[in-house]
Subunit: 159 residues, 2 copies
């Protein structure tokens, strides 16, 4: 599985970040089904890992609610360069081509400030807490390098 979607929809008038960990759906390929229906007023958090190509539109729709006026999103994509070397793809547990999203985070809120702040918080928190390893595949034949997420605060033992 290669890609991650995090969605948080706020259908009450206040945005609240989850006090307990959100449910994790390890449902590769399953349709996103925890959408927000009109009249459904509970906040919902969805985390999904998938081997499928991520759809920004789908994740955006997942958090869109008639009670909310704002959806903020962050899309993490693969850059084509690292220290002058041309990266052609990344390997997590599956292959992500350059320019393709490896993570989509979406948060909705009644007014914009809450969702903009929540998206920044979510990607920062993920980078700090999850020790993501990725293998950069360079242009030169058989050239690659394993990279650890340096922002992860607890995974320093491997340095």
């Amino acid at each position: 599985m290669s890609s991650l979607e995090i969605s948080s929809s706020c259908c009450s008038q206040e945005t609240k970040l989850p006090s307990s960990p959100p449910s994790v759906e390890a449902s590769a390929g399953e349709p996103l089904e925890k959408g927000v229906n009109e009249g459904d007023e509970k906040s919902k958090d969805v985390i999904k890992f998938t081997a499928e190509k991520l759809s920004v539109e789908e994740v955006s729709q997942l958090v869109t609610s008639p009670l909310c006026g704002a959806v903020s999103l962050f899309v993490g994509t693969t850059r084509n360069n690292f220290e002058g070397k041309k990266v052609v793809s990344l390997e997590y547990e599956a292959l992500v081509p350059v320019s393709e999203a490896s993570i989509v985070i979406a948060v909705s809120s009644a007014h914009r400030a809450a969702s903009l702040e929540a998206v920044s918080y979510a990607i920062d928190a993920l980078k700090a807490k999850v020790p993501i390893w990725k293998k950069e595949m360079y242009e030169e034949p058989s050239s690659s390098s394993w990279k650890r997420n340096k922002e992860c605060f607890w995974a320093t033992a491997s340095d």
Copy 2:
């Protein structure tokens, strides 16, 4: 024309906000054509007004670049309520149904902080500078109200 897309792609290693106003395409229905191609290293800004339904995916793709590792987006949607009244649609110069996007802003950057900040800046700047009027259509028959964007700093004469 009812909807607005603002896109800024940063294909150099630094993000810079435009020093001169970006080009405005008043091209309702035209395809988005100022995309970033691999090897194209100039920053580009695109502003488009359209009567078509906005596509978050399309705007996201527009700014996606092999040189960038982050795309941040803001989607402004129509809420279904105002002071206890149920809003069924908004009228700008065309009709926007509840939950449909009236603006999509997307910015890409090499690393995430720049694009997250730029999206917040862009929506705040737009709200401060553009005197957006919208007509809220309520559930009650023939009930509606014109609303001015209160954040617009120069349009207070009409109060």
